[in-house]
């Protein structure tokens, strides 16, 4: 069969809007929190998950089963959103997401990959469908796919920051909202063009709001954390550690921990402060537009930190906890350094 003459404009309408939206999100992130390599990987994973969703929905909601259309609509949305949530849950669990901005970008990227594969598949299946369908699928369905997964990622990150990332129920509210919006969108309660317009009107301000809030919180964490790390470093190098509050606390542990463990705890504080300053320095350089040259010493320091953590053991690490910031952002910065270590 000859290809439809208007295939190129249809393809452009189907894939460009969601790609442009994702590009805008990446551009808006002044700290460049998500490496391009990760974004590409997440898009590819989203594409694979679209294939998995197609197979699963085919099995669960085949025509022969005669399920109620509403059950199919919500069931299919649930399957798709659970699948799209998997990469976000992994990224959060492995501390590769810590701020609302990187959550939004990664979430939207998963949805982008999902939508690209879905739209290209339908375009191959329905080559002679009208251009209007591809405008609706490109500006509406595809952007909705990115948007709802971004909302899921943002909500999960916000709850993880507030309540800790170990709680399993922190994913439930975001998933419920994503499924609801997705299923309602697919119902086309109004004309498809109106639903598409609604997505385009509501999503950009929501994203801008998230970005503004996240950048404020990042700036505040960065500036406060940098000064705390610099102060810790000053204290450790001053020669007066034993008279400080930190020193008195460490001395109070002498009866319970061996001397070499205490010595390694001081080393741990120092290496951690040095690495933490480096991570925040990278973000500050990016924010002010400076290129960030590779630092060959990072890898060795990360290895030293791991060795010290092992040497100190679980009890020592627990004893150090009051002296160390352990927020999601602080753990994330070590991941940032690992990704940059040559």
């Amino acid at each position: 069969m000859a290809p439809a003459p208007d295939l190129i404009p249809k393809l452009a309408a189907a894939v460009l809007p969601v790609c442009l939206f994702l590009t805008a999100l990446i551009y808006l992130d002044s700290y460049k929190l998500v490496p391009l390599r990760r974004i590409v990987g997440v898009i590819a994973l989203g594409g694979v998950l679209a294939g998995a969703a197609w197979v699963l929905n085919g099995v669960l909601f085949s025509d022969e089963q005669g399920a109620h259309p509403l059950v199919v609509a919500f069931g299919a949305a649930l399957v798709e959103e659970i699948l799209k949530a998997i990469p976000i849950v992994w990224l959060l669990g492995s501390r590769r997401i810590a701020f609302l901005v990187d959550a939004a970008i990664c979430g939207f990227a998963v949805g982008t990959g999902f939508a690209l594969v879905e739209n290209v598949y339908y375009l191959v299946e329905l080559p002679h469908s009208p251009v209007m369908l591809w405008l609706v699928r490109g500006f509406g369905t595809a952007v909705m796919h990115g948007g709802v997964t971004a909302i899921f990622a943002i909500m999960a990150t916000a709850f993880a920051t507030r309540f800790g990332s170990r709680r399993r129920d922190l994913f439930v509210p975001g998933l419920a909202l994503a499924v609801l919006v997705h299923a309602l969108f697919n119902q086309y309660l109004t004309a498809p063009i109106v639903t598409t317009a609604l997505v385009l009107v509501l999503l950009p301000p929501l994203m801008v709001l998230v970005f503004i809030r996240s950048e404020r919180s990042l700036e505040s964490w960065l500036s406060f954390g940098f000064d705390v790390d610099a102060e810790m470093l000053r204290l450790l190098q001053s020669g007066n550690l034993s008279e400080s509050a930190v020193g008195l606390y460490l001395k109070s542990l002498r009866d319970r921990l061996r001397g070499e463990v205490l010595a390694d705890m001081v080393c741990y504080l120092r290496v951690r402060a040095e690495l933490s300053l480096r991570a925040k320095g990278i973000l500050m350089m990016r924010e002010s537009g400076h290129p960030v040259p590779p630092d060959p010493s990072i890898r060795a320091k990360l290895e030293e930190l791991r060795w010290l953590a092992k040497s100190i053991g679980p009890t020592g690490r627990l004893a150090l906890a009051p002296l160390l910031a352990r927020s999601a952002e602080d753990l994330w910065e070590l991941t940032l350094l690992e990704s940059r270590a040559p």
Binding site: L222, S223, F226, D227, A230, L233, R234, Q237, A273, E274, L277, R278, K280, G281, I282, M284, M285, E287, S288, G289, H290, V292, P293, D295
Partner: protein
């Protein structure tokens, strides 16, 4: 309190504390700089990330026209902060 003064040899001397409360004052001063200048840190007691942010932005602006900030008399602690944060690769420190 941060004091910024320019010596007859065009060296900029920073004295006191360069922290968040001094950012607006410092920004108004540094935004006027358009060519290579020397910053003397000898009398600087303290610089926070807010102050470093101003210096980074100034260095970026100057580097676009082939100019730079040169830092002198940096005390060991501030030198360490520049070293560990990686800013010593952006600024010329003597």
């Amino acid at each position: 309190m941060l004091d910024i003064r320019t010596e007859p040899n065009d060296t900029i001397v920073l004295s006191g504390r360069f922290d968040a409360s001094q950012v607006e004052k410092a920004r108004a001063f540094f935004v006027e700089i358009s060519e290579t200048r020397t910053l003397d840190f000898a009398e600087l007691d303290y610089i926070s990330s807010a102050g470093l942010g101003i210096l980074l932005a100034t260095q970026k602006k100057l580097s676009e026209s082939g100019h730079a900030l040169r830092l002198v008399n940096v005390n060991p602690h501030v030198r360490d902060v520049f070293h560990f944060s990686g800013f010593d690769r952006i600024f010329q420190i003597e």
